[in-house]
């Protein structure tokens, strides 16, 4: 993650006096954040959309630094911090961001800004009943609401690669979900990441503690680990017996192991994962958490662990128990064939011959609106649902011919849109760089674009002799300020799991 790497030079050392503060009012624990942000027009990725503004809240943590959710500072063009009771805002900047887990650390360079602010201490454990207090910045005042704890549950992280605990609470706050800090007494329980009607979803202190610890650790930010394999319940005695397991079924069945993931090379398809990190996993995929009771085992890699650690595990394989070590690998949503969220990247694209080529990803699909699952082109959706994590070294991204800027040069193709590109001039293309390179190798005076069947056509033919001239005219006519933007460096996928020695 580029922002995370760039931020590593900032000091995250604990000041000596950070924990000396006595009980203090909430006003000294939170700071307002004004965020001016600007996203990209996904249809015309050379254009930025109109700038917008959002008001968020950050909580003061040891450092002193300001903690908020990554989504609050996404696409920020200007970040300003505002202390309660003061009319002035001062510039702020991101020092660490983890979009996967949805947390960000922000600092303010203005001298004296942190005077009078007191870092919050994190709750050691989540409350499982009773009430908590949610705080929101509204009209330059703090609005304090009470929430009732509903339950602790394992859910997918913001970028969906990590599963971890969330606290679910029923709140009186209207329209929350914008990074409101949640306190139990004077301890920070978590930050609200979303709210549906009265149900708030709170990113818990345990995850925040892990994030802060990794942010403060020297060297590269390790990140939270992904599970790295797909699984299904093992509740069926017939299936368990077929795999040679006697007695009541237990453990979960491994169905596929992700390339480069934590299970790669050590877990096999049709293994039954019996224990992980010393915890017995039941046939439904739950384990007995010491504080929260039965919760889904997928939480274990994020439960006090980080990428790079090895977790002991036992699998049922070939009719017997086998002990293995699962080395946790960092979550890498960016490695997906169809990345769901692109917090760090500008959209990569190329406008050539009036055709707009781009990577297929979540932001593009979501540009159809909240009901994109109903209205976005079916072909793109099918690819997203079925093959999103099928990246391989020779297929890193799906390239879409998203639209056509009509011109006499591309006559006959003006209504073409949202078709998946297979080849250009006979060369498979899986990145924008490959698209650009392929156009450098025309065939016999023509550019030939091969499209995946399923749309109205499978081949586009363009003239080479007038290609450059058309590019100039189309670029000028449609005010395409930049005709190309290459992709960010792609993460290493690692070797295929079958070639990894156990």
């Amino acid at each position: 993650m580029r922002a995370a790497a760039a931020a590593a030079v900032f000091s995250l050392m604990l000041p000596a006096a950070a924990h000396a503060a006595p009980r203090r009012p909430l006003e000294s624990a939170v700071v307002g954040l004004g965020v001016t942000y600007q996203g990209w027009d996904q249809d015309r990725p050379w254009v930025k959309r109109p700038p917008q503004f959002r008001q968020a809240l950050a909580v003061v943590v040891d450092g002193p630094l300001l903690l908020t959710t990554a989504q609050m500072v996404a696409d920020a063009t200007l970040l300003e911090a505002e202390k309660l009771g003061l009319a002035t805002r001062v510039p702020a900047r991101i020092v660490r961001i983890d979009p996967q887990i949805d947390l960000a650390l922000v600092t303010v360079d203005a001298p004296g800004f942190f005077d009078g602010l007191v870092p919050s201490r994190l709750a050691a454990a989540l409350p499982t009943d009773g009430s908590v207090t949610s705080v929101r910045w509204k009209s330059r005042q703090l609005e304090v609401s009470t929430s009732r704890v509903s339950r602790v549950e394992v859910q997918a992280s913001a970028l969906r690669s990590v599963e971890h605990l969330f606290l679910l609470a029923t709140t009186d706050m209207q329209g929350g979900g914008w990074s409101e800090p949640v306190f139990a007494g004077d301890r920070l329980v978590g930050l609200t990441v979303s709210q549906e009607e009265q149900q708030a979803r709170v990113l818990p202190a345990e995850i925040i503690a892990g994030f802060l610890a990794m942010a403060r650790a020297p060297g590269e930010y390790a990140g939270f680990a992904e599970l790295g394999f797909r699984w299904q319940v093992n509740e069926d005695p017939a299936l368990a017996a077929y795999l040679g397991m006697s007695g009541a079924p237990r453990g979960v069945l491994v169905t596929t192991v992700a390339r480069g993931g934590s299970g790669c090379g050590v877990l096999h398809e049709r293994d039954i994962l019996m224990t992980l990190d010393g915890h017995d996993i039941d046939a439904s995929g739950y384990y007995d958490h010491p504080r929260y009771g039965l919760i889904r085992f997928t939480n274990i890699p994020s439960e006090g662990h980080r990428a790079g650690e090895a977790l002991p595990a036992e699998v049922w394989r070939d009719g017997r128990r086998v002990r293995i070590d699962l080395t946790l690998r960092p979550a890498r949503s960016e490695a997906d064939l169809v990345p769901d969220r692109r917090p760090d990247n500008l959209p990569a694209y190329a406008v050539l011959g009036g055709f707009v080529f781009r990577e297929l990803d979540g932001p593009y699909l979501r540009s159809w609106g909240n009901d994109w699952r109903k209205v976005a082109p079916l072909q793109l959706q099918v690819w997203t649902w079925l093959f999103a994590d099928d990246a391989s070294p020779d297929r890193r991204r799906v390239i879409v011919l998203s639209s056509v800027l009509p011109h006499a040069y591309n006559l006959g193709y003006h209504s073409v849109s949202d078709l998946i590109v297979r080849t250009i001039n006979g060369r498979p293309v899986d990145t924008i760089s490959a698209v650009i390179e392929a156009f450098a190798h025309p065939e016999g005076g023509y550019h030939r674009i091969g499209l995946l069947p399923g749309g109205p056509l499978t081949e586009v033919i363009l003239d080479v002799a007038t290609f450059a001239e058309a590019n100039t005219e189309i670029g000028a006519g449609y005010r395409v300020t930049e005709r190309l933007r290459g992709e960010a460096p792609l993460p290493d996928l690692g070797p295929a799991c079958s070639s990894v020695a156990p």
Binding site: E235, V404, S417
Partner: protein
């Protein structure tokens, strides 16, 4: 494909993979067949057969009948069941041969058909003798011999001119009095026939009011039938569609031997050759036009005859423009109109350009091989097989409709891919039909199976499954203790204790009221 401004982002026809004459459900959902849901049976107390109506100058109103269909459809979500009885009402008219011509959708899935003659309250039993679901036409014969004696058979005319006036006749809204409306022919085009959901043929569009119940009634000009009213567009005002005489005659010619074969199809996809570079690369001379063959459906008429990349220059001697249209009666239609004019078993003459060589070939015409899997199905029960309470069905359009009207967006993406995309991207051998584990009839022998709804079944004990009958054979000939069923998702499988499931089978069928374990 047509030129024009980029459409709004909607689920458009061109965004779904259908060969020529294939139409997505999203389009057909906007159209409505025009039967009237007749909640009440026909009136019983009325005067005896009326004398000739003085307003009926041509005397043909007497030949226009009302048809009431008491129908039951198979239920594809519980494929051994039928729906409740639905009563609907449409229109029809007498043609030579003691027959009544109407729409197929007026008489589909009939348990009983009743005819009401003009001005006569007496119901007369009838039966559909020929159904053409692809052209939405049917022939009905009264069970009483001589019932139609004395009623003039209506004569067929030709294609009405654009802007000319036509009159529609029928029994809209289930009324027992004949109704007529007048309007102009506003458009003549190739259009979706919503009854099958996939067929496209020529239609006459009129602004004469065509309402539910008009279905099957004649559209008349100059005392001759120029169309059969059959569908409307729910999102447009004053838009009704009629099946023109060309299609009626094709149907009647086909049915002449007492059996309906259906419309032939080239079963290809093509694209325009409007772009100068594309035309040049295809080898077209400056004065030549044509379209490029994009896809050839395995098992269809064009397999072995055409190749991807061929340029179709002319059909039956008529040049194809580079947008795929031909000139006809001063209008332009898709060249498929010319193929439509043939019957199955005939050949169509195609002039084409391949590798710089121009040649003319005759292509023997067949049905489109995907009709059974992609069209709406009528007058049949769903196919299924139940083993150990697991219900297996073929993947087809009717199965996907169990997800509801918006199945295109609601159905499991694996099934959508298998149904719509895989046949184009990775065409299976002709005859292959995907099989789906539709549901489970809960029983201790199957209650712990992890995946049991709408799962594609790809293999049984390592044997690839090519269809429902193949699955039945694989299960019933197995002597293994376990049946391991590989499902469509990578790595996903279920295991069935074969002997236990077989032993539990009869009890499960009995408990759930399933009369047979199969309809293969």
């Amino acid at each position: 494909m047509t030129d024009g401004p980029r459409p709004l982002r909607m689920l458009r026809m061109s965004e779904q993979p259908f060969p020529r004459r294939r139409t997505p459900a999203a389009v057909t959902a906007l159209l409505a067949a025009l039967v009237f849901p007749a909640a009440l049976p026909a009136p019983v107390a009325r005067a005896a057969a009326a004398a000739a109506d003085p307003a009926d100058e041509d005397g043909f109103e007497r030949s226009i009948v009302r048809i009431v269909d008491f129908s039951q459809r198979g239920d594809w979500s519980t494929p051994w069941e039928v729906s409740g009885v639905r009563t609907s009402s449409g229109s029809g008219f007498v043609i030579p041969g003691d027959l009544i011509l109407t729409n197929a959708h007026v008489v589909s899935d009939a348990r009983m058909l009743l005819l009401y003659l003009h001005g006569d309250p007496t119901p007369h039993k009838a039966r559909a003798v020929i159904l053409g679901h692809d052209c939405d036409l049917a022939l009905v014969r009264p069970e009483e011999p001589g019932l139609l004696d004395g009623l003039p058979a209506l004569e067929l005319g030709g294609l009405p001119a654009l802007r000319s006036t036509v009159e529609t006749y029928g029994y809209p809204a289930g009324g027992d009095q004949i109704s007529s409306t007048r309007g102009v022919v506003s458009r003549i085009e190739i259009h979706v026939y919503t009854h099958s959901g996939v067929d496209q043929h020529i239609v006459v569009q009129t602004d004469a009011a065509i309402n539910p119940g008009n279905s099957g009634g004649p559209v008349v000009q100059g005392g001759r039938v120029v169309g059969v009213a059959f569908q409307g567009a729910s999102d447009l005002e004053n838009t009704g569609y009629a099946i023109p005489v060309e299609v009626i005659r094709h149907f009647l010619d086909d049915a002449r031997d007492g059996h309906y074969d259906g419309y032939p199809d080239l079963a290809i996809q093509d694209s325009n050759l409007l772009n100068p570079a594309a035309r040049r690369r295809a080898g077209l001379a400056d004065d030549e036009t044509g379209v490029r063959v994009e896809f050839i459906t395995p098992g269809g008429s064009s397999e072995g005859q055409l190749e991807v990349g061929d340029v179709l220059l002319a059909v039956d001697g008529r040049p194809i423009a580079s947008d795929g249209s031909i000139s006809e009666a001063g209008l332009r239609f898709d060249f498929g109109l010319l193929v439509d004019r043939h019957q199955i078993g005939e050949s169509v003459s195609v002039r084409m350009l391949r590798n710089g060589e121009r040649r003319t070939i005759d292509i023997p015409l067949r049905l489109h091989p995907d009709l059974e899997t992609h069209a709406n199905l009528y007058d049949r029960m769903p196919r299924y097989f139940i083993f150990g309470g697991l219900v297996f069905v073929p993947l087809d359009n009717e199965m996907l409709k169990t997800y509801g009207r918006d199945w295109v967006s609601a159905a499991d993406r694996r099934l959508i891919y298998e149904h719509l995309y895989r046949p184009l991207i990775d065409p299976p051998a002709p005859g292959y039909e995907p099989v789906v584990l539709l549901r489970r009839l809960d029983h201790p022998v199957n209650i712990n199976i992890a995946w049991y709804r709408n799962q594609l079944v790809t293999a049984v004990n390592g044997r690839a499954i090519g269809g429902l009958k193949d699955l039945i054979t694989a299960i019933e000939t197995s002597t293994d203790r376990w049946l391991v069923l590989d499902l469509g998702e990578p790595g996903r499988f279920i295991v069935v204790d074969r002997a236990a499931a077989a032993a539990a089978g009869p009890g499960i069928l009995s408990q759930y009221g399933v009369p047979e374990d199969r309809n293969p």
